[in-house]
């Protein structure tokens, strides 16, 4: 069995609002990523995907606060560490993060090479400019970016090129885990494909050992990841392999998500796409029962009363629903 690179158990983090209310945006999340694997996180806006990404880095700044749980990266526990230590020793070296608006992450008054210098000097102050240039040149070349990019300002680059430059800079120190939060959602389909290709290359060339990929685009997730985790209102509602989740979802919410996939393949126009009605619950005061009960087609009276635990369906598969697996399959088959 391959080594576990990232092992997160029962991680809970909260936002504290100015009215002193606690909002648990990541609620008892456990996950494992093995060497060379990609984990995808799916879910609609506001379900806690991006908060989970921030929480996994162990770097908390208000209003986000750590509450409980453990994050172990390559055998080292980083949960509850001092934020300053996290910034110096974990970020960039062990975990790198590509934010959603990576396009705006490049300082428009600096050339790309000078941004690279800042990044490397923050971690290894003794590196000379020459060494940095050589490292940057090699990284860019291996990832298929032209060397000229280093001498340009960010405003001279196209959106797709900016995004790929940000990715190249984020892995320049060879982090162990890379978290990509919607890296391609602002790009057109061709640039999106280049970004995806680059993420695959990172793994193949050994720049990173594990990738966490966050998006709401399911066809993309299916093509990039090994395993998929579906989040709803801060909780994991289902996890399993990419294939199982896309073609054989168990949880009614995942089932609903898969019903909204749009791909240019024959047969698409004959099926009626399904959308899930309603909106997710307000996490200031989450429902005591199943969080999806309000929007669920198959809701039962007990759903709204008793909280539901994640139940194991074998082979690393788990789902959060009170209806047993066999019964769910029967319901779906009869639709």
């Amino acid at each position: 069995m391959a080594d576990t690179i990232l092992d997160v158990s029962e991680l809970t983090t909260k936002y504290i609002t100015r009215h002193e209310e606690n909002i648990y945006a990541v609620d008892h999340v456990s996950l494992k990523v093995e060497d060379g694997k990609t984990l995808g996180i799916a879910g609609e806006s506001g379900c806690g995907k991006s908060t989970l990404a921030l929480s996994l880095m162990g770097y908390y700044f208000p209003p986000l606060h750590y509450s409980s749980g453990e994050i172990i990266i390559d055998g080292r526990n980083i949960s509850g560490m001092d934020p300053d230590d996290v910034r110096k020793t974990v970020l960039g070296n062990e975990i790198a993060y590509i934010p959603q608006s990576a396009m705006n992450a490049l300082n428009p008054t600096q050339k790309v090479i000078s941004i690279v210098e800042d990044v490397i000097k923050a971690h290894e102050p003794s590196t000379s400019k020459k060494q940095i240039y050589a490292l940057a040149k090699e990284t860019f070349k291996r990832l298929g970016l032209p060397e000229e990019v280093l001498q340009k300002y960010s405003t001279e680059l196209s959106g797709g090129m900016k995004q790929r430059t940000v990715i190249a800079i984020s892995v320049i120190l060879s982090p162990i885990v890379l978290i990509a939060d919607e890296p391609s959602s602002a790009l057109d389909v061709t640039s999106q494909k280049m970004v995806i290709k680059m993420l695959r290359q990172l793994m193949d060339h050994g720049y990173i050992k594990a990738l966490i990929f966050i998006t709401h685009e399911l066809p993309l997730l299916y093509n990039v990841t090994d395993d998929i985790m579906v989040m709803y209102a801060g909780q994991i509602v289902e996890k399993g392999s990419a294939k199982e989740l896309v073609f054989d979802p168990l949880h009614p919410y995942s089932k609903g998500l898969m019903g909204s996939i749009i791909v240019p393949e024959s047969g698409l126009r004959d099926v009626k796409l399904t959308a899930i009605p309603g909106v997710p619950p307000n996490l200031k005061d989450p429902p005591s029962g199943c969080r999806f009960a309000e929007r669920c087609k198959y809701v039962r009276p007990t759903c709204k009363v008793t909280a539901v635990e994640l139940s194991d369906a074998g082979h690393g598969r788990a789902y959060r629903c009170i209806i047993p697996e066999a019964e769910l399959r029967e319901i779906y088959a009869n639709e």
Partner: protein
């Protein structure tokens, strides 16, 4: 311009061209485009960033002046030279844009947005009860509940709800043509299907012509009757959605299709 068997052309262009810049920086953003849009159909304009989709839409809307070429509306040469005529034209053509968050006035409550539409329709002096009835009908068209929204500010809604409210506005204004410029690109995938279904509902129930602009050929395939593919300002391929997307003739169209991730077929990453 001419009558077809069933449907009439509502909006047409001939040799439409827009040139930006001067001298060496000249770019032909839209280059000699001739299209005919029929009544009550959804037409997709597909192309990558910078292919001139939005420029074309802006010219159709009358927001940009064409460098060359003509636009015909209901068989006549479009005349929007005076402000009065422009306003008259805009009663027939309306638009929704990419970013629903910036489409609202932050300081106005939601009912103000819809009341504005009623005023534009000339129903501003109706009794209050009748206004509420109309607004409730518009909201229920897009599966929103007017009673829940009435006292809210736009930022209290999700992106999908905001975009649906934009469609409710269109339902009230009831133009003949709707230009939808990337209406789903900032909406998450789960709400996307709802928006597309509502555009189809506008076509089926209100008989509207919808010009759907997108870079995602999958969306175009799902929603449209006719597809136009644009590359560097030119229309390179046109046809019914089935013909254009399942059996593309142009290499460019094929590339756009290849670039969209699939689930039943292998996604080839080596082409970029």
């Amino acid at each position: 311009m001419q009558m077809s068997d069933e449907k009439r052309v509502i909006l047409g262009t001939s040799g439409l061209t827009k040139v930006f810049g001067l001298g060496r920086n000249k770019t032909r953003a839209v280059d000699n485009v001739t299209i005919d849009l029929y009544e009550s159909e959804i037409v997709s304009i597909v192309g990558e960033s910078g292919s001139g989709k939005t420029t074309l839409a802006k010219m159709l809307l009358g927001l940009l002046k064409p460098t060359e070429g003509e636009i015909y509306f209901q068989g006549q040469l479009r005349d929007i030279r005076s402000r009065k005529k422009k306003k008259e034209y805009w009663k027939n053509i309306q638009a929704i844009f990419q970013d629903p968050f910036s489409a609202y006035n932050t300081f106005q409550k939601i009912d103000a947005v819809l009341l504005d539409c009623l005023r534009m329709r000339g129903d501003g002096k109706l009794p209050q009860a009748q206004k509420i009835e109309l607004m409730t009908e518009a909201c229920s068209f897009v599966n929103l509940k007017f009673a829940e929204l009435t006292n809210k500010y736009p930022f209290e809604l999700s992106g999908g709800q905001m975009q649906r409210l934009m469609i409710a506005r269109i339902f009230l204004l009831n133009p003949k043509i709707l230009v939808a410029d990337e209406p789903t690109s900032m909406i998450d995938a789960c709400s996307r299907a709802t928006i597309l279904d509502e555009l189809m509902k506008l076509r089926d129930e209100a008989g509207m012509t919808v010009i759907f602009i997108t870079h995602d050929i999958g969306l175009a395939y799902y929603v449209s009757d006719t597809v136009y593919i644009m590359e560097q300002g030119k229309v390179v391929e046109r046809g019914t959605a089935d013909a254009c997307i399942l059996n593309p003739q142009e290499a460019y169209t094929q590339r756009l299709i290849n670039d969209v991730p699939k689930i039943h077929e292998e996604w080839d990453l080596s082409t970029v």
